[in-house]
Symmetry: C2
Subunit: 298 residues, 2 copies
């Protein structure tokens, strides 16, 4: 099961970090851009791909996983989607666990088509999904996860400021995201791997640490994909609560903090790939210290 | 505003029908397939495109709109996405109002990328979105709708059997979908067109007519995109409640009922495009009669 591979990779690297490839052409350092002033979309997408490959090469021995955010590729149309798949193929070949951040959701027959696209038809080991349509929009993914050993991360408590607008609504003594959490745990109960974690994980934003702490207790067999570290404002202390007492159970995503590390003063003089690598190492140490404060040894 | 164009097109055709292009290669009649046994993806996507064009040609003078479901194209990767965009371009050039059914959702910065992909960067007049992340995942779309005159349809009450699993939860005296409905109406209040309908519409499933009737009263300025007619089980009487007393305010989608009409006994002998056209006409008449029963003259 891919969830076991993720746990093993974290165990090996001691680095519960997910490198977020939310790559936009604007993010690219000069040397990865084309010399043409207004490049066409195909060239743009190719430049993004080459930057992604450089980042993957720079981190593949120290990080367990990447998350590729579909939106940044979809805006380049068919060429972008080719880049999206090529990036996932490259990351997978480099030994990284690949999360396709697509947040897909639809009625059953259409969810099945999405599952064909991403669970059955891509190099992704995991995809993110939105559960607003209930179980029959999730079941096709579960069926294909059962067949392939792949997994999903269900949006439970998102990292954005207005995440609570609906997610925090009281639904009879608990909040909506807690009900989504309970369902997520139940949906994953039949797909638990060797490390005690299910192929059905949850997206739990780093920016709401109190809620994350409660969710960690609430869903002990659910692995967390944790966005919101860095650019979105959460620090390592905020994210430490997402881990279990063995230092397992979560992988923390950072996108801009790694892709744009070369622009930071602390990494001045480093080429972009080396800056990205150092940002991953610094993030790993940051998380390591925060876990130690909680008495957890990774 | 595109919402006005949609109202005008419905007024002109007297046909509040959206032709759903959820096209899969399996759906294609023999004459639209390639003679190759296991065609490659590029050929597959091209065949789908040609079938879509034939359907569009067959209905563009009698129907106001098409809905193109992204999932069925994403499963063919980059070639599928090219087909998705080409189909929207073709439908738009044929004068149809185009709805990209993508159900995208993400945090603000990523929602902005999705908006660049589909509001700013495609021929779609409308896209569907999922509001689980609250306003800051919606705002980028609203901003671009303000700039372009385009619109969105927010998932409120979906047509699938488990739609109520979360959507019907009681959130303090009303149901979650009603709260999503109220927010949707509020988000669209600044974008109301000449016909009294907002650029911010709602997806309201035909399979829950009692809820749809209540929503029609609850959000008088919100246009409804109504899936669930035909293959999903709803009939014309079920969908009549989505319309206002002037016969406006809703467009009813049918996908399989039109794309696969050529397989139905009642259209035996007709080529697929003619069968699709006749299915649209029959659906129009079906809705017309149901509206007349309610005293509404289209």
């Amino acid at each position: 099961m891919r969830i076991d591979r993720l746990c093993e990779a974290i165990n090996k690297t001691k680095c519960p970090v997910c490198v977020g490839l939310d790559t936009q052409y604007d993010y690219l350092p000069e040397e990865y851009r084309t010399s043409v002033e207004n490049p066409d979309i195909k060239t743009t997408a190719e430049c993004v791909y080459h930057y992604n490959c450089a980042i993957i090469d720079a981190v593949s021995d120290i990080a367990p996983s990447v998350k590729v955010q579909a939106a940044y590729y979809e805006k380049y149309g068919a060429d972008g989607i080719r880049c999206f798949h090529d990036t996932m193929d490259y990351a997978s070949a480099a030994g990284l666990v690949v999360i396709a951040d697509v947040k897909r959701n639809d009625i059953g027959s259409t969810a099945k088509a999405y599952s064909e696209a991403y669970i059955m038809g891509s190099a992704a080991d995991f995809i993110t999904v939105n559960a607003y349509l209930g179980i029959d929009g999730i079941q096709p993914f579960l069926d294909d996860c059962g067949k392939t050993g792949k997994g999903i991360f269900v949006l439970v408590k998102t990292s954005n400021p207005s995440g609570g607008e609906f997610q925090d609504l009281d639904v009879g003594g608990q909040k909506l995201y807690q009900t989504v959490a309970d369902k997520t745990a139940a949906w994953g109960a039949a797909l638990i791997g060797e490390y005690g974690y299910s192929a059905v994980g949850a997206v739990v934003g780093a920016t709401y640490p109190a809620e994350a702490r409660e969710l960690r207790d609430r869903m002990p067999n659910t692995f967390f994909l944790v966005p919101g570290y860095g650019a979105q404002g959460a620090g390592a202390d905020d994210i430490a609560v997402n881990f279990d007492l063995n230092g397992f159970g979560a992988v923390v995503n950072s996108s801009r903090g790694i892709l744009l590390a070369y622009k930071k003063e602390q990494y001045a003089g480093l080429p972009a790939d080396k800056a990205a690598r150092q940002a991953v190492i610094d993030m790993k140490n940051d998380i390591f210290c925060a876990l130690q404060k909680r008495g957890i040894d990774l």
